[in-house]
C-alpha cells in the first residue's frame, strides 16, 4: 500500500480528496439537480406531483414575485454598501493603528457573533421597538414624534442585515489592509501625497482583494436572507427568501419554491463564476479564508 502511494504521489492526493468531495457531490450537487427537477413538477400537495417539464413556471414565478426579487437585491446591495462604509474604518484602524491591541480589537469584532444569530436579531427587535431602548428616550424628549417607528420598516431590515453580516466584510478587509507594507504609505507621504490622495491611490487599490471578497461574503447571504425581514420587517418588506420559505414550509408548493430558489442560486452563481474567471479560483478561496 505505502509502496504504491510512494510510486504514485498523486494517488495520495486523490485518496485524501475522495471522501469529502464525494460527500459534496452527493449532498450539494445532486440536490441542486434534484431541486431543478422538482421545479418542473406539476400537481398539488393532496393529489401528488409528477414531472411534466413545466418550464413555464420560471417566467411565471419570476413575474409573480418580481417585487420580492428586486427588494432582495436592493436590501442586500444597501446592506453590502453599509457594511463596507462601517467596516472599512474599523478594519483600517485595527490594521494600522491597532498596535498591541490588534488581537483584542479583532476579538471584540468577532465575539458578538458567537451568540445565536436569532437571539442577536431578536435583541435588535427589543432595542428598536416602538417603546424600546432607543425610541422611548427620544420620544419622551420630543426629538422624534410619538408615532415614529423603526421596527417593521425597510430601514430595520437593512439595519439588521448590516449588523449580522458586518464581520464578513470587516475581516477580509482587515486581512487585505494588514498585508500593505507601511513603507508604501510612508513613501506616498514622502512624495507629498495628501491624506486623501494616499488613501485613494495607495491604500484602496491595495485593499481591493479584501473589498471584493468582503462584498461577496456579505452580498450572497444578505440577498438570500429572510430571518431579518421576518423578525424586523413587515409583509411590505418581504424578501425572496420569505417567499421561498412560505412556498416550501407553509404552502407545500414545492415546484414554485424550487424554481424561485433555483433562480436565486443561478443569478448568484453567474456573478461568482464571472468573478472566478477574472481572479482565479485559488484567489477566491484565499480571499474567503479571511
Amino acid at each position: 500500500m505505502s509502496g504504491l502511494l510512494r510510486r504514485h504521489p498523486t494517488a495520495i492526493a486523490y485518496a485524501l480528496l475522495a471522501p469529502g468531495l464525494l460527500y459534496l457531490l452527493v449532498f450539494y450537487l445532486v440536490p441542486t439537480v434534484q431541486m431543478f427537477l422538482v421545479s418542473l413538477w406539476t400537481g398539488n400537495l393532496q393529489d401528488g406531483y409528477s414531472l411534466t417539464f413545466n418550464f413555464s413556471i420560471y417566467p411565471q414565478a419570476l413575474s409573480h414575485y418580481w417585487d420580492q426579487f428586486v427588494r432582495s437585491i436592493v436590501y442586500g446591495g444597501a446592506a453590502t454598501i453599509l457594511t463596507f462604509m462601517l467596516g472599512f474604518p474599523l478594519a483600517y484602524f485595527i490594521a494600522f493603528r491597532g498596535g498591541r491591541y490588534k488581537n483584542v480589537l479583532l476579538f471584540l469584532v468577532i465575539a458578538p457573533f458567537f451568540t445565536s444569530f436569532l437571539l442577536r436579531t431578536l435583541s435588535w427587535k427589543l432595542i428598536l421597538a416602538d417603546d424600546g431602548l432607543v425610541l422611548a428616550p427620544l420620544k419622551s424628549l420630543g426629538i422624534v414624534p410619538d408615532g415614529f417607528r423603526v421596527l417593521a420598516t425597510p430601514v430595520a431590515v437593512i439595519a439588521g442585515i448590516t449588523y449580522n453580516f458586518l464581520p464578513f466584510m470587516t475581516l477580509p478587509l482587515y486581512v487585505a489592509l494588514e498585508k500593505i507594507p507601511p513603507s508604501l504609505l510612508e513613501a506616498a507621504e514622502d512624495l507629498y501625497a495628501s491624506n486623501w490622495q494616499r488613501f485613494r491611490r495607495v491604500t484602496l487599490p491595495l485593499a481591493l482583494p479584501g473589498v471584493i471578497a468582503g462584498s461577496l461574503l456579505t452580498f450572497i447571504p444578505a440577498v438570500g436572507d429572510y430571518v431579518n425581514a421576518e423578525l424586523l420587517g413587515s409583509p411590505q418588506s418581504q424578501m425572496i427568501g420569505n417567499v421561498i420559505q412560505a412556498r416550501f414550509l407553509q404552502v407545500g408548493d414545492y415546484p414554485t419554491g424550487s424554481a424561485l430558489s433555483f433562480i436565486l442560486m443561478a443569478a448568484i452563481l453567474v456573478g461568482v463564476l464571472i468573478y472566478a474567471r477574472i481572479v482565479g479560483t485559488e484567489e477566491l478561496l484565499g480571499g474567503a479564508s479571511a
Partner: protein, 297 residues
C-alpha cells in the same frame, strides 16, 4: 539611506505637515480623534445586542421576555425548565458534536491534499469547495429538502440524521478554508527529516505532521461547531418535526421567548468565547517553541 538621510526626510515632512490646507488638517484630526472614537462606538454597537441578551437572562419576566421587570436568578437556577427546551438543546449539541467530528475529518483531508500535493483537477476541487459557501443558506436547505422528499423510506421522514447530513455539508468548506490558511508554509523539511531518520509514513504523520497541524484543526473544529449549533435556516428545511435550539427560539418568538433561552444563549456565548481565549493562549505558548515558530514563516 543613512541615518541622517532618514532624519532629514522626516523633518521635511513634519514641516509640510504643520502647515497644510484646512482639508489636510481636518484629515489629520480625523485620523487622530474621529477614527478611535468611531472604533469605540462601532465595537459598542456590535456588543449591544449581546449585552441585551445577557441582561435579559436575569429578567424577572413571566411569560414573555420583552420588558425589563426586575432582577431575578430564577432562569439561571433552572436553565432547562421549559417544556421542549431540554430536548431541543440536547439535539443541537448532539448534531453539532457529530457534524464537527465528521466535517473536520473530511475537511482536513481535503486541506492536506490541496496544500501539500500537486494533482490534476485542482481548479474543479477549489470550485466544488467554494460553491457551498457562495450559495445562500436558503438554497442549500431547499435543495436538500427536495433530495430528501425524493428518497422516501431512506431520508424521509426527516429527523436528526437529515439535519446532520446538512450540517456536515455546509461545514466542510469552512473547515477546508481554515485548514488551508493555517497550512500555508507548512515545514515539509521536518517530515523529510523524520523519514530520513527512519520513521515510516504512519509514524511521521502522528509524531510530526499531526502535532504541527493541530492548532489549525482545532480552529476549524471550533468554527464548525459554532456554525452548526447556531444554524437556523438550513435546519428549518431539514428538521421536519425534530426540534433544535434555534428552531425552539424561532417557534417560541410569537408567544414570547422564555427567559431560559437567554440563559442558554449566554452559556453558549461564554463557552465559545472561553474556547477562543484558551486556543489563543495555547498557540501563543507554542510559539515560544522553536519548532512551532517555523510554521509561521
Amino acid at each position: 539611506m543613512t541615518a541622517t538621510g532618514v532624519a532629514t526626510t522626516t523633518a521635511r515632512v513634519d514641516v509640510a505637515r504643520s502647515r497644510g490646507t484646512f482639508f489636510q488638517r481636518f484629515g489629520r484630526g480625523m485620523d487622530r480623534w474621529l477614527l478611535p472614537i468611531y472604533v469605540f462606538v462601532a465595537v459598542a454597537f456590535l456588543a449591544l445586542p449581546v449585552l441585551v441578551m445577557i441582561a435579559f437572562s436575569f429578567n424577572d419576566a413571566g411569560r414573555s421576555n420583552v420588558r425589563w421587570q426586575g432582577f431575578s436568578l430564577d432562569a439561571w437556577l433552572d436553565p432547562l425548565g421549559r417544556s421542549g427546551l431540554q430536548a431541543a438543546v440536547f439535539n443541537s449539541i448532539t448534531i453539532a458534536l457529530l457534524a464537527t467530528v465528521i466535517s473536520t475529518i473530511l475537511g482536513v483531508l481535503i486541506g492536506m491534499a490541496l496544500v501539500r500535493h500537486v494533482f490534476r483537477g485542482r481548479g474543479i476541487t477549489n470550485l466544488l469547495i467554494f460553491l457551498p459557501m457562495s450559495t445562500p443558506e436558503i438554497v442549500l436547505g431547499t435543495s436538500l429538502l427536495t433530495l430528501y422528499l425524493n428518497l422516501p423510506g431512506i431520508l424521509f421522514p426527516l429527523g436528526l440524521h437529515t439535519i446532520l447530513i446538512a450540517h456536515v455539508m455546509f461545514n466542510i468548506s469552512y473547515v477546508v478554508v481554515t485548514i488551508k490558511a493555517r497550512l500555508q508554509g507548512f515545514p515539509r523539511h521536518l517530515e523529510e527529516a523524520a523519514m530520513d531518520l527512519g520513521a515510516n509514513e504512519w509514524t511521521t504523520f502522528w509524531r510530526v505532521t499531526f502535532p504541527l497541524i493541530l492548532p489549525g484543526v482545532m480552529a476549524a473544529a471550533l468554527l464548525a461547531f459554532s456554525l452548526s449549533i447556531d444554524d437556523y435556516v438550513v435546519t428549518s428545511f431539514t428538521a421536519g418535526q425534530t426540534p433544535t435550539f434555534p428552531l425552539f427560539i424561532y417557534g417560541s418568538q410569537q408567544r414570547g421567548i422564555p427567559v431560559q433561552v437567554n440563559v442558554i444563549g449566554t452559556i453558549i456565548f461564554a463557552t465559545a468565547v472561553g474556547f477562543v481565549l484558551l486556543s489563543t493562549l495555547l498557540s501563543r505558548r507554542q510559539k515560544l517553541d522553536p519548532v512551532e515558530a517555523t510554521v509561521d514563516e
